[in-house]
């Protein structure tokens, strides 16, 4: 076969390969979507981060505004210290809530930011004081069963009332946790 024909075919072959790689990068991979602009870092302490991983998304109102940076363990407070890299385009008030949520029932975990009403904004290196831990499913179930059992012991007559209060206990518990945590975090400082 002639050399120019071979050159042409090899050229087509290589071009196809490059096109396939570009297709993988743009259409299949997240090369375009994972790009964040310049970021600033804020720190948040959690008692329990569940299965949160570095590079997990940070979302506010469902929109990805940043990524989780380093995850460390503080040996003095025995808490997880997480740095959140947030896009410079978005600023948040100082009293923003940082919660760890799960996407779907068993999906990956992410950090959700709920905006407060403070005038002052979070700056690079600031610390988010209001945090809510990841919900550990086993803990929740055992708490529910425990409450249910204790209710049943007190009042066996009205099953309707007992389930209602057990539900209340379930929904109230995470809130109690936050309140306790808020006090605990405020006390040492």
């Amino acid at each position: 076969m002639e050399r120019t024909t071979i050159d042409l075919w090899v050229g087509i072959f290589v071009a196809l390969g490059v096109a396939a790689l570009l297709g993988l990068a743009m259409k299949v991979g997240n090369l375009t979507t994972s790009k964040l602009g310049p970021t600033y870092t804020v720190i948040a302490n959690f008692e329990n981060i569940g299965g949160l991983k570095p590079r997990a998304p940070v979302k506010s109102a469902g929109v990805v505004v940043g990524r989780v940076g380093k995850i460390k363990f503080d040996t003095e407070t025995y808490e997880a210290v997480i740095s959140l890299n947030i896009d410079k385009r978005y600023s948040f008030p100082k009293d923003t809530f940082a919660n760890i949520y799960t996407a779907g029932l068993l999906g990956e975990q992410y950090v959700g930011l709920e905006v407060g009403g403070d005038e002052a904004k979070l700056k690079n290196g600031d610390k988010i004081t209001h945090t809510q831990d990841a919900i550990v499913l086993e803990k929740m179930i055992s708490q529910f069963l425990f409450n249910k059992a204790s209710e049943n012991k007190d009042d066996v007559s009205s099953t309707k009332a007992s389930t209602k209060s057990a539900d209340d206990g379930l929904t109230a518990n995470p809130l109690d946790q936050i309140n306790n945590k808020g006090k605990g975090a405020a006390a040492p400082k």
Binding site: R3, V10, A20, N30
Partner: protein, 264 residues
């Protein structure tokens, strides 16, 4: 005398092991020699391009067709299982990750060994049997830098390109089954895929894998051809050995590479 015949199994075992190790050493020396004398083949790059045509372009048809069907089967099987858990939208992730991480590089390497590796072994073996290689040496042309090195680099170049094309065409095949045929939402198909396939950890690692497989497959094919006894029987058994050894090497290397890539 009785003692000698009793020791025979042990002796054959020892002979086999020494032979294997000797061949491994010879193969390593051959590899080193190819690397050292490949400078000239880069200066005459058209030699490499010619071999890329024979190993890469001519393998394109088998790669395209098998990739298309592998992607379609993945989508069918994946959908069948995923819809039981009500997450049939995850089909895109399943097809893309399976192809980009594993099936793309591995199936391409296996097909490459069967399609191009055998051709290389038979060609080199026959060149040796018909004393073309010795004739080159007579004319003061180094057969390794003139014949072996261009084929080696052509294989190393062609394999990642073939594997990337395989992954992309497989994903298109999976798309064709999942979206128009089964009726999964096209937006969910692509967006779930984009959210879960990582550029560095999935795509680049797949390309690295195929590069390593390219080196291994081409080197095995070249060495088996160069080492073949110069008879018709010798060339035929060398061709068989090429397929067996390359396939096993690819599968073992795949495990080793994956274990390194997952732990990082």
């Amino acid at each position: 005398m009785i003692k000698r015949s009793r020791l025979r199994p042990l002796r054959t075992l020892g002979h086999r092991v020494t032979k294997r190790i000797w061949r491994l050493g010879a193969g390593a020396r051959f590899f080193g020699l190819t690397l050292i004398s490949s400078g000239e083949s880069f200066r005459r790059f058209h030699l490499i391009i010619r071999e890329v045509y024979f190993t890469g372009v001519l393998s394109l048809i088998i790669i395209l067709v098998s990739a298309f069907f592998v992607g379609m089967v993945l989508a069918l099987q994946g959908y069948n299982t995923l819809q039981r858990y009500g997450s049939s939208e995850a089909i895109g992730v399943l097809v893309a990750l399976a192809l980009v991480r594993e099936l793309g590089p591995v199936v391409t390497a296996l097909l490459f060994a069967g399609r191009a590796g055998t051709a290389i072994t038979a060609e080199i073996g026959l060149m040796k049997a018909t004393e073309q290689l010795s004739a080159m040496e007579m004319m003061a042309v180094n057969p390794i830098s003139r014949v072996i090195a261009p084929r080696f680099w052509a294989g190393v170049i062609a394999m990642p390109i073939l594997a990337t094309i395989f992954s992309m065409v497989g994903i298109l095949g999976g798309y064709l089954v999942a979206v128009p045929l089964i009726g999964v939402d096209a937006g969910a198909f692509w967006s779930q895929m984009q959210a879960n396939v990582d550029w560095r950890l999935d795509i680049v690692n797949g390309v690295i894998k195929s590069l390593v497989f390219g080196v291994a497959c081409t080197m095995i094919a070249l060495f088996e051809g160069y080492d073949a006894p110069p008879t018709a029987e010798g060339v035929s058994s060398a061709t068989t050995r090429t397929v067996v050894t390359s396939s096993l090497t690819v599968l073992i290397l795949d495990f080793v590479l994956t274990s390194f890539m997952i732990s990082v």
